[in-house]
């Protein structure tokens, strides 16, 4: 099976500043690939290289079997920018029809279906779109021509919950139909429910590509437990996977590596009145699993400082 996206040693320098270095990436048909990393790590650089908005310093990319410079490739791609820039007095519906016409594609009906589904207002002027409506218009233009590859840059940032549900459903439909998605985010939680694999990029380098299930297993989680009465610290000491343990009267806080099983079983002996388990965030995955790879790497300090 030919890869939908294939990059070999893809590198982009902005002058002397590194945007992306030696990216080797392969996305298969029907795969949803989560592309994770903090802001400025190189996610958008990768996406813009694949779309031929910018050109690589070295290395190469093949998208849908074509050079990104070949404009035919872009007819089969749907792209949602991180921040959809809009201006002008044109009606949103007219703008979408322009995009549809250039793609030689979808009928007006398809635009209306998506607008109805997302409850988007097509009669609003582009320059006056509300934040929510802007994101909906962005989603419609990305999905409307049923592209073989969807490239979504931070698609869920700021979507209201109902639209987010609809959006995730649309991504799942795309996968069911055997089409592919490349979806960037800086929060694992935003992509883990729909992604098959995630790649983690940091300081312009791809540091890991993981199966989502495996990554969650390795993720760390901050957990807080509140009991109805003070609990003895000894009951929770030396549990497998539990560290940074703090017990203060009836409250317990700790960090869990991997499975929370041991902690849950230990806590079950007392009366738990409240439990908080924060979603593991990406930076903690960096700190726990990837910091050891960065000895001598100056940027590692920055990540730690931010955490």
């Amino acid at each position: 099976m030919t890869a939908v996206v294939l990059t070999e040693g893809l590198t982009k320098f902005y002058g002397k500043r590194r945007g992306l270095q030696d990216l080797d990436l392969e996305i298969q048909p029907g795969e949803v690939f989560g592309y994770l990393g903090p802001n400025g790590a190189g996610k958008t650089t990768t996406i813009r290289l694949l779309l031929d908005v910018i050109r690589p310093t070295s290395g190469r990319a093949v998208v849908l079997g074509l050079d990104p410079r070949d404009s035919r490739a872009r007819a089969r791609i749907g792209y949602l920018p991180g921040e959809l820039a809009v201006e002008g007095r044109e009606k949103a519906g007219a703008y979408l029809e322009f995009m549809a016409a250039v793609r030689g594609g979808p009928p007006r009906r398809r635009i209306e279906e998506l607008a109805e589904r997302l409850e988007a207002d097509l009669s609003a002027r582009m320059g006056e779109l509300s934040k929510g409506n802007k994101q909906k218009i962005g989603l419609i233009q990305a999905f409307m021509h049923e592209p073989e590859l969807l490239i979504l840059d931070e698609p869920t940032s700021g979507l209201d919950p109902l639209v987010q549900q609809e959006f995730l459903a649309m991504v799942r439909e795309v996968r069911r139909e055997g089409r592919s998605v490349l979806m960037s985010s800086h929060v694992l939680a935003e992509v883990e429910h729909v992604s098959d694999r995630v790649g983690i990029v940091r300081s312009g380098r791809l540091v890991a590509v993981e199966d989502v299930a495996a990554l969650r297993e390795r993720a760390v989680r901050k957990v807080e437990l509140h009991f109805d009465a003070p609990v003895p610290r000894e009951a929770f000491e030396n549990l497998p996977g539990v560290r940074d343990l703090i017990v203060e009267g009836a409250n317990l806080r700790c960090t869990i590596d991997g499975r929370p099983d041991a902690l849950i079983k230990a806590a079950a002996r007392f009366t738990v009145v409240h439990m908080v388990s924060a979603e593991p965030d990406l930076e903690e995955i960096f700190l726990t699993y990837y910091s050891e790879e960065e000895h001598g790497d100056e940027e590692a300090g920055h990540v730690r400082a931010r955490a």
Binding site: V53, R55, P81, L84, A85, R103, G104
Partner: protein, 266 residues
Amino acid sequence: MSALVRKTLGDYRRALIGWTVGVCAFFLLYLSIYDSIAANPDFYEKAALAKYPGALKDLMGGLADMTSGAGYLQVIAYQLFGPMMLIMCAAVLGNRAVAGPEESGTLELVLTLPISRRRLILGRFTALALGLLGVALVSFLLIAVMAAVHDMGVPIGRIAAAHAGLYLLVLFFGTLALALGAVAGSRALTLAVTAAYAVGGYVVETLGKSVDAISWLRWISPFHYFLDGRPVYQGWPAGDYLVLLAATAVLLAVAVLAFDRRDVGV
């Protein structure tokens, strides 16, 4: 017409209508007082010469016979005011071809459509050329009608010759703005360079006639190829107009090649 050209013309529509109305209102206002100027030529000629002494007179194109129909038409429409107003319009539209949308971020989405970089530039140029042609045609009709109504004694063929030159001059500056945007992607730089070249080119062409030190610079002024042939008086200076067309073609080629090579929006 391709979807891109239609869309670009749609984006230009309000600006085009606004500039057309403004330019035509200016022509209408000044050409409608020609009757009283023709009735008192001595008075108005003295007044004009008093208002523009010395080098200012050269800058206004000499004002030699501004009370004749052809002279008055030259001063009002084809010497300074007409070209400068329309060049401003062209620079604004040319700037909106690449530099404007690149800075505002809307160009990125257009680039992700299945349109090659070359076709994008050619489409933008086509829209620019058509839009400016619209402004030129409407203002030409207005001037032709006014010249006939007020018995200015300028044959319509001469007016057409002058207006065609005006259009080519304006298209050159619009294409210059488009090309600067395609090369550098900066709105401010585009406007600054286009304005400086227009003003400098005009000054060099008009003052260069009497100041030897800068007279050689007239060859690189686009205005030279419009004003020097005196189309209102002498009809089509075909060779000069071909120079303007060729220069525009070179700018367009530069725009296509430069934009095809560079990163956008970084």
